[in-house]
Amino acid sequence: MKSSNAVVYVVDDDVSVREALASLIGSVSLNVECFASPQDFLRRRTRDAPSCLVLDVRMPGVSGLELQRELTRTEQAIPIIFISAHGDIQTAVGAMKAGAMEFLAKPFRDEDLLEAIRQALERDRAAQGRREALASIRNRYEQLTARQRQIASKIVEGRLNKQIAAELHLSENTIKVHRRRIMERMGAGNVATLVRLMEQLT
């Protein structure tokens, strides 16, 4: 029985560490997926459930820090817990500055890792909520016609129906009909809400 659909990804080139972490994380009823390299992770991970990444710092080829940068660059942000067998303060500082959740020196206490995972998943769940809301707004916006999008942006700019009609050489009545459609499709009860929704899309 899994307590949630959350997934913990583990990327470490050491098979002993991977096996141990898979067992430890599995023992607290969390889904876990292990990868031997950052490339593997980028190729094979699936992304819809809340998730976090337990990432080794030093690996042959692409390092954990490089993977962190790549994920940030491609806007695939995911809470990262770094684990390292080198107690290297500079690396830790760099990783934390780049937004890592936690930096644990190997060997670490199992409670420390599990607690960090718990917090990371919590954070990603919140982020997930935001991501879903945004996807829904984007989806609704995409259902508008080109004309409606044009009108919507003018409404957001604060133009009155009369002004918009004049600018687009349309009747005021036509604008009124479009406006009602736009508000319905976007699920906005008033102009203030529409402004807030449209802002999130930019």
């Binding site: 002993s16 560490v17 141990a20 067998a85 060997p107």
Partner: protein
């Protein structure tokens, strides 16, 4: 100011004379100046002089002077004195005895020089060198420790995670005995791995004889070449291997000999890192002589300075900015543990050649 006084001022040298019969002391103007006294308003005597000498050096100066007078020899002393304003100066004084017509000691005539700045410079240089030596030693040792720590921390991390997992699987309801057993099996495996790491380090740093078998050195060279192929390519190093086809087999530890070749090859690659004008050429040779098998690794780098030729074998000695300084020391220790020897070949046209010899099946001296 007359020429004599000017000369004294420039060289910061004062002169003095002491009359044995009267006990009178004469100081030049520069001597007064060095001692921080006004020559016009001060009278000098042996007692005044001794009072100005630093308390810690007084006894030594007095004894040295009495000894000089007793034996009628030159007086030479270095001491600290304290000026009336509290400033301390380092003084070097040298004097020689002057004898009368009948050979009796008349007086001592001498000079003093203010060597404060010189001493300070020497001291700071000395402490800087000591600091540097300490820093580089600590750094290389630190790197060694970091490497060992990494190798041990990896299985340790797996160990603790498996232990935590095993406990949780057992505490589950119902307990997952199968999962706990797997975790415990991994614990045993990882503990062995940690042990192996320690054993390997111990073997590397010397002592342990390891696993010796009778084998062909050429096969080890070939194994190591496979290991360093990428490194060679990345550094644009051309490899030439002249391996004697009729090479006799010798008794040695395969892993340790791989380590020796690996160390020598990596050293050679690094020695050629700065080479641009010449081709980077790495030559590995094996050949047999009467006593045993000889292998050599030669680079076309900048060579090794004669002055550091022996030092390169000291543990933690390195000429590389990021080196650990253990490679050659370990290599030589391994070869010697096999009853062989490892040395630098001098007078190469360019680059450095390290050669080692392993004796034929003969057990090394116990």
């Amino acid at each position: 100011m007359n020429h004599f006084a000017l000369g004294q001022k420039i060289t910061r040298t004062g002169s003095w004379a002491w009359n044995r019969a009267s006990g009178e002391l004469f100081w030049s103007r520069e001597h007064f100046r060095i001692f921080g006294l006004d020559p016009e308003s001060n009278k000098v005597s042996y007692d005044v002089y001794l009072q100005m000498v630093h308390a810690d050096d007084k006894e030594q100066v007095e004894r040295a002077f009495q000894e000089a007078v007793r034996t009628e020899c030159d007086f030479d002393a270095e001491y600290r004195m304290v000026r009336p304003d509290g400033q301390m100066r380092c003084i070097h004084s040298h004097a020689y005895p002057v004898f009368g017509e009948s050979g009796e000691l008349m007086e001592y005539v001498g000079t003093i020089a203010d060597i404060t700045e010189q001493r300070q410079a020497e001291e700071s240089l000395g402490s800087m060198q000591a600091e540097l030596a300490r820093a580089s030693r600590a750094m290389t040792l630190g790197q060694l420790m970091a490497t060992i720590a990494h190798e041990v921390n990896q299985p340790m991390a797996a160990l603790t995670a498996n232990a935590g997992a095993a406990l949780r699987w057992l505490a589950a309801d119902p307990p997952r005995i199968d999962k706990a057993r797997q975790a415990l099996t991994r614990i045993a495996r990882d503990a062995n791995r940690a042990n192996d790491v320690i054993a390997r380090i111990r073997a590397l740093v010397g002592g342990n004889d390891g696993q010796r078998t009778v084998l062909n050195l050429n096969s080890i060279v070939q194994e190591v070449i496979v290991l360093v192929r990428t490194e060679l390519r990345r550094n644009e190093v051309t490899l030439r291997a002249h391996l004697d086809e009729n090479l006799q087999r010798v008794r040695c530890d395969r892993v340790q000999m791989q380590q020796v070749f690996l160390n020598l090859i990596v050293n050679a690659i690094e020695a050629m890192a700065a080479v641009v004008a010449r081709p980077k050429l790495l030559t590995i040779e094996t050949v047999a002589d009467d006593a045993g098998v000889i292998a050599s690794v030669k680079d076309s780098g900048v060579g090794v300075d004669e002055l550091v030729l022996e030092r390169v074998f000291e543990p933690f000695y390195t000429t590389k900015p990021r080196g650990m300084g253990m490679g050659l020391a370990i290599s030589r220790a391994i070869v010697q543990a096999h009853g062989g020897r490892l040395w630098f070949v001098a007078n190469e046209t360019s680059g450095a050649r390290v050669r080692f010899q392993l004796p034929f099946n003969r057990t090394p001296a116990e």
